[in-house]
Amino acid sequence: MKVFKGKRIVKGSAQLDTISAPCLLCPHSFSFLGDIDSHSGKIIRIDSPCKDMHISQQILAFTASKGSSSGCVILSSLAKEGKGPVAIITLQPADYNLVEGAILGEIPFLAEIDPQFFKEIQTGMQITIQGNTCTLLEKEQ
């Protein structure tokens, strides 16, 4: 079992202290305006290795949030339509703008994750967020 420590900024829905889902790992900074289709949740950024993947039902991990302040609007809009991620993990400290969207969408947000996470986790691996940590079971490696 591998454990990566982070800082839980948004708890998310009260029933959801523990979240397990496949990881969708974007090894780059991410702008909810421009990098994602705001209706379907599909990644549209041309130079992303995750292009055409959907964030719905995934734990979305990226290095840092950037770009337009519409990011918060798009995240909460996707959550409202049931097309948002089940949780967000970032390498950098949480972006105030995106955290607003996560609070409104009740999306757990784990920031400042151990940088080792981006070296050892790949898209599709089942990971679990509990409290301030993210865990990968050995069988998933």
Partner: protein, 432 residues
């Protein structure tokens, strides 16, 4: 979080359940980041509540019908069409009717119908040190850096700050988070920073490097940017990164607090003309003399001076029949432009002066086009002097980007083809 008696009463519902819920969100938000208290804000720039996002117009209508009012001066951000004349952007009527709900709701709530990304250009200039709450990344970085007002990268919680007058004391509101955390040394000549597109490229490069840090910019030359240039610089930094505040000795007011020599140990980047040209090349994928069908100026919203410049250049001329040319601005500037006769000159030239919106916020995104049966992409090739506009349009509108100077955009619009891309100064001196 320590609350005042007034805040406790508000949280308990003494000023209505809507305010209680709004304050509860702000307290949750502050506690997530360890804020110790709330502060009073003096101004708010409210979210657009755009019709292109599901449910947002309905939300604001519902809010307004509950007789809730803002408690601080509040301006509003951009919509998805020119609400006075939606035909200017060919906005689908169904989308316009939805967007109209905002137009009716905002006055009821006491929100000013400014519908712009640049409230600072129409007189909303909060004083240095004041706490504010703002959406729109280009306005946020301007408020923080150029004016020295204090705001984080606001989003939908700006709604809650507007109706409570409160925001958590955290992030860029606090002295300790406003110090430079990286250093950008410019080795650029005055000729490299004479045009809006060059300032936009510089901002994009700094944003790519700085990401969420606070860059301190140093240049042995002392450029004196115009309003459009400094706005373009910040807008681009907040596009390629999430820069919220920058300092530049001799240009921004807080930079004087820092001794340049003591900052040399910070993470460091040098930016020269070489990097500027490389970035321009990435955003110019159409060769000289190849057709251009869409030209956009006014990202962020154009100043009256820029409109005057285009009108003067286009006097007696028309744009190519295959070209659509938008200048996006705010409604107050459009009124001034009409009063001075510039709008009429532009119309005669075939140029549309559009208020309240811009291409990226319009119906031209692929998902909105498909919803309303509009063929996508609406245009093949977009020329603009703004990297912010081109960065977002590339993915969202499916256009090929062409980064040009203001004058090169105008000249390309006249011949319907991309003109030569030299690096020399435009014949454009912004006066206001």
């Amino acid at each position: 979080m320590k609350l005042t008696e007034y805040e406790k009463k508000m949280l308990q519902g003494e000023y209505g359940q809507i305010r209680a819920k709004a304050l509860d969100y702000l307290v949750q938000f502050g506690e997530a980041f360890g804020a110790e208290k709330l502060v009073d804000i003096s101004y708010s720039h409210y979210p657009a509540e755009m019709a292109i996002y599901d449910g947002f117009c309905e939300d604001v209508e519902q809010y307004a019908n509950q007789n809730i009012q803002v408690v601080v001066p509040t301006t509003s951000s951009t919509l998805c069409c020119d609400i006075e004349d939606p035909s200017l952007t060919n906005c689908p009527s169904e989308l316009f009717f939805l967007q109209e709900k905002t137009k009716h709701a905002f006055p009821k709530m006491g929100i000013l119908e400014t519908f712009t990304c640049t409230p600072q250009q129409i007189g909303f200039v909060p004083p240095m040190g004041s706490y504010i709450s703002s959406v729109e990344s280009s306005a946020i970085i301007y408020f923080n850096s150029v004016l020295g007002a204090r705001t984080n990268r606001g989003g939908l919680f700006t709604r809650y700050s507007s109706i409570t007058g409160k925001y958590p004391a955290m992030g860029y509101l606090l002295d300790q988070n406003r110090s430079p955390s990286c250093y950008c040394e410019l080795t650029l000549s005055p000729n490299d920073l004479s045009r809006i597109d060059q300032w936009s490229i510089l901002g994009y490069l700094i944003g790519e490097y700085a990401q969420d840090q606070v860059p301190f910019i140093h240049s042995s030359n002392k450029p004196k940017p115009t309003m459009s240039q400094i706005v373009s610089l910040g807008a681009a930094m907040a596009t390629s990164g999430s820069v919220t505040l920058f300092h530049w000795n001799g240009i921004t007011p807080e930079a004087i607090q820092y001794d340049t020599s003591s900052l040399k140990d910070l993470p460091y980047v040098q930016i020269s003309k070489k990097e500027m040209l490389e970035t321009r090349a990435k955003f110019t994928v159409v060769n000289e003399n190849q057709p251009i069908d869409f030209v956009v100026l006014g990202c962020p919203h154009a100043t009256l001076s820029m409109i005057q410049h285009v009108a003067t250049k286009m006097e007696g001329k028309t744009i190519h029949e295959n070209v659509t040319f938008w200048i996006c601005t705010n409604r107050m500037t459009k009124l001034q432009s009409s009063h001075l006769g510039f709008t009429q000159t532009l119309e005669r030239a075939g140029i549309r002066l559009i208020a309240d919106t811009c291409p990226v916020e319009s119906h031209m995104r692929s998902n909105i086009c498909s919803r309303f049966g509009v063929p996508f992409p609406c245009y093949q090739t977009m020329a603009s002097n703004s990297l912010k506009m081109l960065h977002y349009s590339k993915n969202l509108l499916g256009v090929k980007p062409v980064l040009l100077s203001t004058d090169q955009c105008i000249e390309s619009a006249v011949i319907g083809k991309r003109v030569s891309m030299d690096w020399k100064e435009d014949n454009y001196n912004e006066s206001i």
